[in-house]
Amino acid sequence: MANFICPYCFEKCDTRDICFRCINPNPSDCPLEEDEAFSKYWGFASTRQMPRIIKPNVPFYKNRLSHAICPKCKTKTTKMICPHCHNPLPHTTGLVEEYMIALVGAKAAGKSHYVAVLINALRQDIGQKLNASLVALNDETIKRYRDEFYKPLYEKKEIIKKTISPELKHPLMYRFSMGRESKFGRQKHTAVTLVFFDTAGENFDSLDIMRREIKYISNSRGIIFILDPLQIPAVRDRLPDDTILPAVHTQPEEIVTRVINLIREDHQIPETELINIPVALAFSKIDALCSLLHPDSMLNRASPHGAQFDINDYELLNSEMQAYLQEWTGPELNNIMKHNFQHFAYFGFSALGAPPASDGGLTEAVSSFRIGDPFLWLLWKNKLIKGRKNKA
């Protein structure tokens, strides 16, 4: 028996329960049926007519089926859907492990920009270093990434529009395949499904909204917590006068507290136990803080991670960022993290490389730095890549 978590409704399901949707296009051959679960998921006031759902009988010796035959029209279909919410599942469901990566952060912290640049980097230089490929698992992912993330940043050279909170989004789903050389010199491939959830910062403004809109956090295999340093009063005070500062939003401690409460609530984790989801706390917009950083800051160095995760670099950066955090905000956030999470680390990055202009245009081409560090740390923590530590 194999289990998986639906990337839409986050129900834990048995792969033997996976349903299929008929793909016969002609409703006169195979009449549509009202799909209550699907309509409920998407919040439709009326039930939508959808192609027929097929619940195949899975032989006892199989974990899942790769296709089913529609009993009505006899059409063969490979379109798998969740048995609970009836949303489409990636074809890799049940075959490879799923890693859901949640992006958490206040409004305008830079979550969308982070995802936009990270995915591009995974397809480009990080991918090359890891000997990995990133392939979108469905059209929604392709279209959403292209229209909402890639085009504005890389083609129109402008910042990404606000993420609209009430709009239900399809998660960005990719097959992340990495080639590794075995001890005997053979190429070995490891594939996982990466699911990125980017949501509007407004959704972190109350636990109620989080419970409704971002249930995925509890089910994620790693959280990247984007912290906007420009929201920190101590930082704002020290920045040059001509720095364009964003409006003040929700404090990061509040969001972290809500995330902790949500995870403990969902998994019924007592206060005495630590949460074992690794959390990467990443300061965004580091490019705006150049004047506040030490000249020999790790943030001024390029990320050294290659096919293996550079543990030395990570430890140094983590210490440095922890020190900055202590300096700028005091011990509160770190204390909260320490008392609630088994694994957490601090990072800093810049998605754009330079602050945008006041009209939303990019002043320079996207030149991110250390964008991959939090993500690679999560891969390392999940043992998807190996770590390398130099004995100095």
């Binding site: 606000k162 993420t163 909170s165 509007a200 407004e202 009209d359």
Partner: protein, 835 residues
């Protein structure tokens, strides 16, 4: 008025959120409005637009029907940057009502396009008061829509769009429109203005969405660069796509007829129609909601009651509508009007007629207003009888009539009878005429006592009574109240055909029918039509077995006619009844008993009856009935002399005194008279009777002797006489008490003629060696010995007796000896052969 409001935008420092709301709005509805009001601008428009450019961004005016009878109209517009300077902000203003009809009056949601009610900026208060009224925009007018659809091929597209919209309401298959934002609003307006308000208010729509997949509006306006894939499968099967910018359209195989109506009205710029029809439609649908999608049928019904002449096909739709949705009970007044219109249609075909039958079937149900039922009956009569039947083929008409037979349209009798009769008169096809007539009777459209009917029967039906179909109709009618009418008409018809053998033959099978005959008879009697009565009797009696019963019935009935004399009719009837073969003896008895003596004595057939009587009489021992009949018939004035004598004999025999020689002689004289010479049997019987008396009565010994002498000498070759004597002898010796005397006496009387050689053995007159010998040897030995002893007591006779005995016995011994001799010779021959 409870129009609640909701604002949603990215507010200063708080980001996207519900910025203001009416306090009565519940959480779920707010959540819905937040989602449904999402605005993402088209990709192709500037991503960092100026204020001027923003004015050209599409407006999203959406309308949704929510649960609990709530409706929401959402107006979302792009407003560019939010407080943080980031693009992507929009302002969504929603109105929610749970009683659309009251709160929005006659406004359709699309009429809020450009309405001053909408705000696009945050107010100062987070609390929004419920609105007391909403104001329509000035743009969406009938004229604007008429002008819009009048250009290019938009009317055709509108018909497709309306067809799709109607389908969408039923199947929820959604419509995607790609056009300019304003045109999309106009398309939606054209569709919703074209439909009755009730339906229009069920059509959810949005004038713009970037992602049609994420919303549930039936009509989604969008742009070419939206998230919609426009795949071939989507265009062909999953959606109704109307992409006016790229000319991509889903195929609409058949345009809904109501869509065509709407387009025509649009073309005629007839806005009044839509208001009137909508009022009508809403009234109907409020009580018969299931018929809400039968737009065209409702339109046809509306047209019909508005006085517009609609086609047969449309009437069929109307009838189906009425039946399917029980409109008869729900809207009796409307139905009365509609049925009146239906009655007035100029032509009707088979299908409409069948539908009218179904309609009446429905009207005949319990609980339907009697006036509606009456009108339905009238419509059925008008369609099936007056409009359809004159042009229908006989076989088609038969089918229709078969379905109508169950109906009772008596209520139409008074006003429709004349029309029925006129129709029958005008129809030439016999089969059709008869089918219709049958129907009229069955449905009680004709009064059974109608004088018009009588006339119609005389002139239309009876002239074709020889046709098998007519005869079937006639027989069917006998089982109805029309029986008397038909019988009388038939009687009248036959009265004129008494001498028409051909016709009488053709209808003889009907006359022979007991049911018909009896009634016809009554009619003939009632009409005092003796000729008819006789004709009917003549035909009827030929086919029946109980002739005597019929004959006597005839005799009985004939009394009812005022005739001076029945004799001639009686004789004709007798002749018709028995023809050339006379009645049986039993029938004769009944005839003589049944017919009054005065009549019987005058009838010529009494002579025939006399013949029957004597031929069935045993003259030697005549039965008392024969004697009685003979006695009665002897009074007849029409007897032949011959029969009179015979009957006289029959009546005389019982009176004979066997002691009186005179009587016996009279009998002999009669038997030997010339009269009986031709009647052998009769002569033999009378002679045997005579010889019995002669042989058996001792007193007549001498007379016996005389007549033996006459037999031997005068009648020696009269076989009949000798046979009669021998039969009488055999009869006489059967009485044991006197048989010995008779043997002795007869031997003595006859023997002397052998002695004198007057009789030779083997002659006709040979009595002793034939009847006597056989009778003697058939007696027991003891009896024979007594006879011998008696005969031999006279010595003279004894010798002759011994001779007789020797002759008769020796004859036997000789035969035996001869046979023994032959056997001996045979044995000898055989022995010689062996040697």
């Amino acid at each position: 008025m409870t129009i609640l409001q909701h604002h949603y935008t990215s507010s200063e420092g708080k980001g996207f959120q519900t910025s203001a709301v009416s306090s009565a709005l519940d959480k779920d509805t707010i959540l819905f409005l937040e989602r449904a009001g999402v605005y993402i601008p088209p990709l192709s428009l500037p991503s960092r637009p100026t204020e001027e450019e923003i004015k050209n961004f599409p407006v999203s005016l959406s309308y949704y029907v929510l649960e609990d009878r709530k409706s929401a109209i959402i107006h979302s517009v792009y407003i560019g940057k939010d407080y943080s300077g980031r693009f992507g902000n929009y302002f969504s203003h929603s109105l929610v009502t749970d009683d659309y009809a009251n709160d929005m009056k006659n406004l359709l949601p699309i009429q809020l396009w450009g309405s001053p009610t909408w705000v696009t900026k945050e107010g100062s208060s987070p609390e929004l008061p419920p609105l007391s009224k909403v104001e329509a925009g000035s743009f969406m007018t009938w004229d604007a829509i008429f002008n819009f659809v009048a250009t290019n091929d938009r009317l055709l597209r509108l018909s497709h769009l309306l067809t799709a919209a109607k389908e969408s309401l039923k199947t929820k298959k959604r419509i995607i429109i790609v056009d300019s934002n304003q045109n999309i609003a106009l398309w939606i307006a054209a569709v919703t203005f074209g439909l009755p308000r009730h339906l229009a208010q069920q059509i959810s729509f949005t004038t713009y969405t970037k992602n049609p997949y994420s919303i549930e509006a039936l009509i989604c306006g969008t742009t070419s660069d939206s998230d919609f894939h426009f795949s071939a499968q989507e265009i062909e099967y999953e959606y109704f796509v109307f992409d006016f910018e790229n000319n991509r359209f889903s195929k609409i195989s058949e345009i809904d007829p109501y869509a065509e109506v709407v387009c025509k009205k649009f073309k005629d710029r007839n806005s009044k129609y839509f208001g009137d029809f909508s009022t009508f439609y809403d009234e109907i649908v409020s009580r018969a909601p299931r018929c809400q999608y039968d737009l065209y049928s409702l339109f046809a019904l509306y047209s019909a009651i508005s006085g517009v002449r609609i086609s047969e096909e449309d009437w069929r739709k109307v009838i189906t509508l009425i039946i399917s949705y029980n409109l008869m009970n729900l809207f009796p007044n409307l139905l009365i009007e509609a049925l009146q219109r239906l009655s007035d249609i100029p032509h009707a075909g088979r299908d409409l007629t069948l539908d009218a039958i179904d309609l009446y079937n429905e009207a005949a149900r319990e609980g339907v207003d009697p006036i509606v039922r009456y009108k339905a009956a009238k419509a059925l009569f008008s369609i099936a009888v007056l409009k359809y039947s004159p042009t229908a083929t006989a076989s088609d008409l038969e089918v229709i009539l078969g379905k109508m037979k169950q109906f009772n349209l008596e209520q139409l009798q008074e006003e429709c009878e004349l029309k029925c009769l006129e129709l029958l008169r005008d129809i030439q096809d016999v089969q059709k005429k008869l089918s219709l007539f049958n129907l009229f009777m069955t449905m009680r459209l004709l009064r059974s006592d109608s004088t018009r009917l009588a006339s119609m029967l005389d002139h239309e039906i009876m002239p074709i009574i020889t046709e098998p179909l007519t005869q079937k109709l006639f027989r069917d009618a006998l089982r109805t109240d029309f029986r008397v009418q038909f019988i009388h008409a038939f009687g009248r018809y036959l009265s004129g055909k008494i001498h028409d053998t051909k016709t009488l033959t053709a209808v003889s099978n009907m006359i022979s029918d007991d049911l018909i005959y009896n009634d016809l008879n009554s009619f003939a009697i009632q009409q005092n039509n003796l000729r008819l009565y006789e004709t009917l009797y003549g035909i009827y009696v030929q086919t029946k077995k109980d002739k005597i019963g019929l004959f006597l019935g005839f005799y009985k009935n004939i009394q009812k006619f005022s005739l001076k004399s029945n004799i001639e009719e009686l004789e004709k009837a007798f002749s018709s009844t028995w023809g050339t073969s006379p009645p049986t003896f039993e029938e004769t008895i009944k005839i003589v008993d049944g017919i009054a003596s005065d009549d019987l004595y005058q009838c010529r057939f009494a002579d025939l009856l006399a013949e029957v009587v004597y031929k069935n009489t045993n003259f030697i021992e005549p039965a008392s009935k024969s004697i009685e009949l003979a006695g009665q018939l002897l009074n007849s004035l029409k007897l032949s002399e011959e029969h009179r004598i015979i009957l006289d004999v029959i009546t005389t025999i019982p009176k004979l005194d066997e002691e009186r020689e005179e009587d016996l002689k009279k009998l002999y004289t009669l038997a030997t008279s010339n009269f009986f010479s031709a009647n052998v049997s009769l002569r033999k019987d009378i002679l045997e009777l005579f010889f019995r008396k002669l042989i058996m009565v001792n007193k007549h010994k001498n007379l016996h002797k005389d007549y033996v002498k006459i037999l031997v000498e005068l009648q020696n070759d009269d076989t009949i006489a000798h046979n009669a004597y021998r039969a009488a002898f055999r009869y006489a010796i059967s009485d044991k008490s006197s048989s010995i005397n008779i043997f002795v006496n007869c031997f003595k009387l006859w023997d002397k003629f052998y002695t004198r050689k007057i009789i030779t053995r083997g002659a006709i007159s040979d009595f002793l060696y034939t009847a006597f010998k056989d009778a003697f040897y058939s007696q027991k030995k003891k009896t024979r010995e007594v006879i011998e002893e008696e005969i031999c007591s006279d010595p003279q006779v004894k010798k002759r007796w011994e001779l007789f005995k020797q002759e008769t016995e020796r004859g036997l011994a000789v035969t035996i000896n001869r046979n023994i001799g032959k056997l001996t010779d045979l044995v000898k021959k055989m022995r010689q052969k062996k040697k």
